[in-house]
Amino acid sequence: MNLVDIAQLSVRLGGKTVLQGVDLTIRPGEIITIVGPNGSGKSTLLRSIIGAVAPQDGRVTRKPGLRIGYVPQKLFIDPTLPLTVRRFLSLPQRVSDADARAALDHAGAGGLEDRQMSRLSGGQFQRALLARALLSRPELLILDEATQGLDQPGSAAFYRQLEEVRGTLGCAVLMVSHELHVVMAASDRVLCLNGHVCCQGAPEHVATAPEYRALFGSGTQGALALYRHDHNHTHDHAADPHHGHHHPHDPGGAGDPPPQEAAE
């Protein structure tokens, strides 16, 4: 059974249509990466999946009793709230010390139990979030820009850890990122989002797709994602869910090789 089925999802926030006609199916064990410029509705899509945003139209169907591990984009902990890493792991479900230690080791954050969350470095903080998400034995792990604020080696290390975690847990992973050069190679499927699904497919396929090029440019070998997006084209999803349409200002260069940096 599919973990999540999204059909023709539309979401309006504050009078603005953020998502329109989005279809997405998440199957057990697959890794899906969502890419898209700022304001393209990536986080809103994730938040609809966890049930924090109500759809205006369409359906989000979760497998009954689906266990989700969620790593938010940014977690602000008020300085007035004292919170050790160990205590954080027991929210909302209490976990045993042994489980907590195992999860921290697994997430690459071993030995941090007694540290205050507010005193952790960026990388340690993200690993603590990951450890907490692992403790619910998730069938679906959702990460929203999990490496924001980490430098490139830090992000690369985080994604290596993530791959290892997924290897042992076998859970599906849905993540949002703009650091394509780091994450893409590990993904089964990449979804290019800009309010609607622009294109999707295997990483190599998307990297060479004209829609992807239009969103992120091509001159930097994927090392730099450009947030420039001004086309207001419409897609005819019924006719061809992938690339049946033409972008008038396609920058071209569709023959460039896909980014390779991720293949380390």
Binding site: I50, L75, D78, P82, S90, L91
Partner: protein, 268 residues
Amino acid sequence: MMFLDDFLVRAALAGLGVALAAAPLGCFVVWRRMAYFGDATAHASILGVALSLTFSFSMFGGVLLVALLMAGIVSALSGRGYAVDTLLGVMAHSALAFGLVAVSFLHGVRIDLMAYLFGDILAVGRADLAVIWGGAAVVLALFWWRWSALLTATLNPDLAHAAGLDPRREQLVLTVVLAAVVAVAIKVVGVLLIAAMLIIPAAAARPLARTPESMALIAAAIGGLSALGGLQLAYRFDTPTGPTIVCLAAGLFALTSLADLVRAGADR
């Protein structure tokens, strides 16, 4: 229950009950930055006092009703044009003013307004004690039951959603608890100082705590100490009891903050 015949014993028990109920709530008020919300709810409750005196029903019920109404209206109106603090300012002070005006219409009933503004812990009777400890028990039971969910929702609403919790429901639980604590505490510290009993012990506990639970426990200890010590000081120096309790709590806050500063200096 002979010992309850002594008004000082009743006062001490009343102070302890309020301190216990206020401590965990005060922590959430501090963590969620709801200090002004607590203040507004408390100020509005004088209208509840006026209503209950006018229509002669229980003061606890009147205050609870107005506090809930106040919290409900603010939640409903927030996010519709006015900033929440503006909204709270309008609501709180209007309710306080309407309450004071309404009280002045009450002929025939002689009421001591000061007793409601600043509390009158020495006049606590057996029935008041029952209300205070009953209310405190309900508040503590609610916290015991929802603690983890409340904490998760306070940390981040999306984390709560992902764990299958509804942050709005947890917000509602806190609103109800706040109304109950205000209703319970009005006799002890009065409308103007209830927020102080929420915030000061929690703030004083912060530098000493490493986990949310220890912060709530330390806040309860500091609140209890302030209540008992303040009572004793007020008795000895013949000062108003409610304000004396708050002064002592403020002194403890200054102490723990200072200790924290010294410790941070030593770390450097």
